[in-house]
């Protein structure tokens, strides 16, 4: 199967999944006990006519599938309605915070990749030595440590004791101001630690597997320098599985950012989600859940396509 056909096939599987995610997100609101208009009017007492008028305005009298199609058509155009808490367009609220979460998430991702891959290589190459033991213990600790507690400890050490980081995010600063970038470092570190530990162990095990293969012995027997053997042959093959798992880490990083943003009062999507859940602001919750679901589906799609591209055996 050519790569193009594989990608097309994979895309075809993705479409019903995407529709399913939109359906689940839409249905979410209909599982809430009580009358949906109470959440629009914030439980104020209203006479039946006004209620009827509101129902008509929000299309709550239409059949359920019409409501779904309307909602889907609006969502596809980027219109998620109005926030109940702030009366602002949901899209605007999300657009304001999205860059911050993207910056923090990508920083966490970069931290994870940049530390995990060299550390994993070192552990695999020095298998069953002190280096390997240290990396094993570090990975155990890194996977088990709660990211929000790690965040609190980072605040305690770097903001309170050493006083080198601000406790609160700089207000009124743009995304790319140096203050904001510096402030993002600690939360990114708190989120990235778990991914680092996971990827490091994966890198180690996949590299150990490759190092045992015949072509390595062959390359060494030919008299190739060790650098070339490891750097050119082993590394390339062992990176394949790491790259795909790295793409899946997107979901892990999103999960982490929801909690860690609370620790650092970070003005991103995670904090928006948590705050709006407390306020029952369902248009915002729906939009965020949908965006996150779609993002994860595309990250998984990317992982599969990358895997197929790097390892042609997968396509058959």
């Amino acid at each position: 199967m050519s790569l193009r056909r594989y990608v097309l096939k994979r895309l075809l599987i993705t479409i019903p999944l995407l529709l399913g995610v939109t359906l689940a997100t839409f249905a979410m609101v209909h599982f809430i006990p009580g009358d949906p208009i109470d959440f629009i009017t914030l439980f104020t007492e209203l006479d039946p006519e006004t209620k009827q008028e509101i129902r008509a305005r929000y299309g709550l009298d239409d059949p359920i599938y019409i409501q779904y199609l309307d909602w889907l058509a609006d969502a596809a155009r980027g219109d998620f309605g109005t926030s109940i808490t702030t009366r602002q367009p949901v899209t605007k609220e999300i657009a304001e915070r999205l860059p911050f979460t993207l910056m923090m998430g990508s920083m966490a991702f970069v931290i994870a990749i940049v530390t995990a891959i060299p550390a994993g290589i070192a552990a695999a190459y020095h298998r069953n030595t002190k280096v390997d033991q240290v990396s094993r213990v570090a990975a155990l600790l890194g996977i088990a440590i709660p990211n929000f507690w790690l965040g609190l400890i980072l605040i305690l050490v770097f903001a309170s004791w050493l006083d080198v980081f601000p406790v609160l995010p700089p207000t009124g600063e743009g995304l790319l101001s140096s203050e904001m970038i510096v402030y993002t470092l600690l939360p990114a570190l708190a989120i990235g630690t778990g991914s680092t530990a996971l990827l490091m162990r994966l890198m180690r095990s996949s590299m150990v597997e490759e190092l045992d293969k015949d072509y390595v012995t062959m390359a060494r027997a030919k008299g190739l320098p060790e650098r070339t053997v490891v750097g050119k042959h082993v590394l390339r093959n062992s990176l394949i599985s790491v790259v795909t798992v790295a793409a899946i880490q997107v979901a892990f990083i999103i999960s982490g950012s929801v909690v860690v943003e609370i620790v650092f009062s970070y003005p991103g999507l995670g904090r928006l989600l948590v705050n709006r859940v407390r306020n029952h602001d369902f248009p915002v919750i729906q939009a965020l859940v949908l965006i996150i679901g779609v993002a994860v589906i595309f990250a998984n799609l990317l992982a599969d396509v990358l895997y197929a591209y790097l390892d042609p055996r997968i396509r058959y």
């Binding site: 999944l17 929000f148 507690w149 609190l152 400890i153 305690l156 095990s205 948590v274 859940v277």
Partner: protein, 356 residues
């Protein structure tokens, strides 16, 4: 191929022995000779797994830690039957009180001189209060011991219930395949599109906060992994000759699944379930921390961190350090046990891929 079912009707080229596939005959047939074979097999597997587990010192240390924390939770405070229960209301079930103070008592410091004027309620750790006191002047060690009840019970209940949902669904999907499989696995795929915490938050957004709401949310998220792993495992196990043999002898689908397939397919599910206890406790604490878990009055570890969120920035390290340490140590111990269980069931493997 062993994919056809017993009761699929006569097929071309297959000999169908009438009279041995009916449920009645089959039951008698099973009890005649099968149990001895089956029990020996099952016992052997668990026996050898346990022997390997016992040799793994790290895993044993993890198990001991979990045991210790569970005992602390049970014996922290006396347990009374709640008032709602009719006959036994108010009966003392467990009289021991290991916790040095009442976790809700704000007056443990009365009669003692504060160490500094700065910390009137929140004392740093001392011999009087090993882990210090919190913002309201409550003993942190006692609260942590009592709080373990929330965290641990949520972890164990959510995992057990999720197993009871995920295992049957995964078994049905893997064994029967076809239409049923499609439906179940598409639901699993769909829910997997949402990260663990986000899906739990969505459920809590619908149901509201509370103990059982939290447990329910974690079950909704938790069963997916078991169903997916077990289905994959069954797809390969059901191709074995002994499954075909059992079917040829006229065993019902239920007895083929329960007696022949499940014992050979459960190992990865058990490993995953062990590790999940840690994930679930961590998620419950995270939800408590962001204010979507238990109520602020409870001493659940995540909630304890939440109410002391500013303390760390103000340098009152003990208030946030110890509750978080409890979560960390518990999850670490569970992971050690989980890795030990995996090595016990699969001594050759390097360790498989972890599902979240």
């Amino acid at each position: 191929m062993a994919t056809e079912r017993n009761d699929a009707g006569p097929e071309r080229g297959r000999i169908r022995v009438e009279g041995y596939d009916a449920a009645t005959d089959d039951r008698e047939f099973d009890t005649a000779w099968e149990p001895t074979l089956q029990s020996e097999e099952g016992k052997g597997r668990l026996y050898y797994a346990w022997r390997r587990f016992k040799r793994n010192r790290l895993a044993l240390a993890g198990a001991a830690t979990i045991g210790f924390m569970t005992l602390c939770a049970i014996f922290a405070q006396p347990i009374r039957v709640p008032e709602q229960v009719p006959v036994l209301a108010g009966q003392l079930v467990q009289p021991v009180a290991l916790a040095p103070a009442d976790p809700a008592n704000q007056e443990v410091l009365l009669g003692h001189q504060p160490p500094t004027t700065e910390h009137l309620f929140d004392w740093p750790p001392s011999m009087l209060h090993l882990f210090g006191t919190d913002w309201a002047g409550r003993d942190i060690l006692s609260r942590m011991m009592y709080g373990a009840r929330w965290s641990l019970s949520i972890g164990f209940i959510a995992v057990v219930v999720a197993l009871f949902i995920g295992v049957p669904l995964g078994a049905i999907a893997g064994y029967y395949g076809g239409y049923v499989d499609e439906v179940i696995m598409r639901v699993v795929d769909l829910l997997y599109a949402f990260p663990f915490i986000v899906l739990a938050i969505a459920v809590i957004a619908i149901l509201g906060r509370g103990y059982w709401e939290l447990v329910f949310a974690l079950i909704v998220v938790g069963w997916l992994a078991y169903a997916r792993i077990l289905r994959g495992e069954i797809l390969s196990v059901k191709e074995n000759e002994y499954v075909t043999a059992a079917k040829a002898l006229g065993a019902t689908d239920r007895s083929v699944i329960v007696r022949h397939i499940l014992p050979n397919a459960m190992a990865p599910v058990i490993v995953q379930a062990t590790l999940s206890v840690g994930t679930v406790v961590l998620a419950a604490a995270a939800l408590g921390f962001i204010g979507l878990g238990l109520s602020p009055a409870s001493a659940e570890w995540g909630v304890m961190l939440r109410v002391e969120q500013d303390s760390m920035a103000r340098g009152r390290w003990w208030a946030g350090f110890f509750p978080g340490l409890a979560i960390f140590v518990f999850v670490l111990a569970i992971n050690l046990v989980g890795d030990g269980v995996r090595d016990a069931f699969d001594p050759q493997g390097e360790g498989g891929e972890r599902f979240r």
